[in-house]
Amino acid sequence: MTGQELFDSLGKLFGQKLQDKTEFRGETTYTILPSDLREVAKFCRHDLSFDYLIDITSIDNFDEDPRFEIVYELYSMTLAVHLRLKLKISEDEQVDTISDIWPTANWHEREIYDMMGIKFKGHPDLRRILMWDGYPFFPLRKEFPLEGLPSEMPDVAFTKAASLEGGPFVTKPSTATTKDREPRARPPDL
């Protein structure tokens, strides 16, 4: 089976459920509904030989509804084919876990929960993975300030807001020299 036949069979079976298909520079991206995730994931893993889940990431489209977007990067070791699945969920929704289909999803989903606060239904061990248990914020959400927020858990950890000293420290996109591009305090123009 070639990569194209693979995508065709996916399209044939889930024609109704695949909301959108994008092809860009040989990368295929399908948008699916959150309710179809497990069915599509199982089919990809068991019937289409997508045996490797490279990554799961999440995007915060602040001020949009649904707010969050989750991206699954799949890869077939046998056919050397990439497939990207995307789905959108709103803030109060939960996504089904796929950690029983690809065990590696366990930690990826924990990271997304830690950083974005998206919960995964049926996850066996949904704890924070980078920050400590009890940290009150989700740092990669758009409303979380760059300098951080103060928090305190006695004997465990604390955080303070970092002084930006005229920052934020950002790079300047340009083709000029490193001196012009390098991250430095760039206060908003007055």
Partner: protein, 177 residues
């Protein structure tokens, strides 16, 4: 004490020196600063290079790196101190016996460096007292050695014994006089 007679034996000539107790203590302390390697990020690689043969921190008596705080004199905080690690660093520092010193190695340990973020402590001096700050990202081994020498300079000027044991010092002065 030149006016007082001192026992003199030609057999031990050259084996006896007269000095101040502080000077003797400081000389001993500064030439065997055992480090607590608190390697947290890429600065730890430079710390290892400093310890290895090319730069050879043993020339300064600071080669005894054991991962136990109980026998250490100076904590070299080498790397980014995250909030998750911060209290652990403090705890290890508290387990070191007095007198103890801290070297903040590199930009991250000194100020948080380029990590102005929710996850990184903005300088280890917010949590424990620092004696020497070393700039660089990461600092070269020479810079770490320079920092170590600065600390040695600082130690050699300390009034450690007299300040810590005023009663004993007074008694010793009386006995000598």
């Amino acid at each position: 004490m030149a006016e007082h007679a001192t026992a003199y034996d030609s057999k031990i000539e050259g084996n006896v020196i007269f000095t101040r107790l502080d000077a003797a203590f400081n000389w001993v302390r500064k030439n065997s600063l055992w480090p607590m390697p608190m390697g947290l990020a890429c600065c730890a690689i430079e710390l290892m290079a400093t310890a290895a043969s090319r730069f050879d921190i043993a020339r300064f008596g600071a080669e005894v790196m054991r991962f136990s705080p109980r026998q250490c004199d100076v904590m070299i905080v080498a790397g980014t101190v995250t909030y998750k690690m911060a209290l652990a660093v403090k705890r290890i520092y508290e387990q070191m016996p007095e007198p103890k010193y801290v070297i903040a190695m590199g930009a991250c340990a000194s100020t948080g460096g380029m990590y102005r973020s929710y996850a990184v402590l903005q300088g280890i001096d917010q949590l424990i007292p620092v004696d020497v700050y070393i700039s660089g990202c990461p600092p070269r081994p020479e810079a770490l050695l320079a920092g170590l020498m600065k600390l040695q300079e600082k130690i050699s000027g300390e009034k450690s014994f007299a300040a810590q044991n005023p009663k004993l010092t007074k008694k010793l002065v009386e006995v000598i006089a």
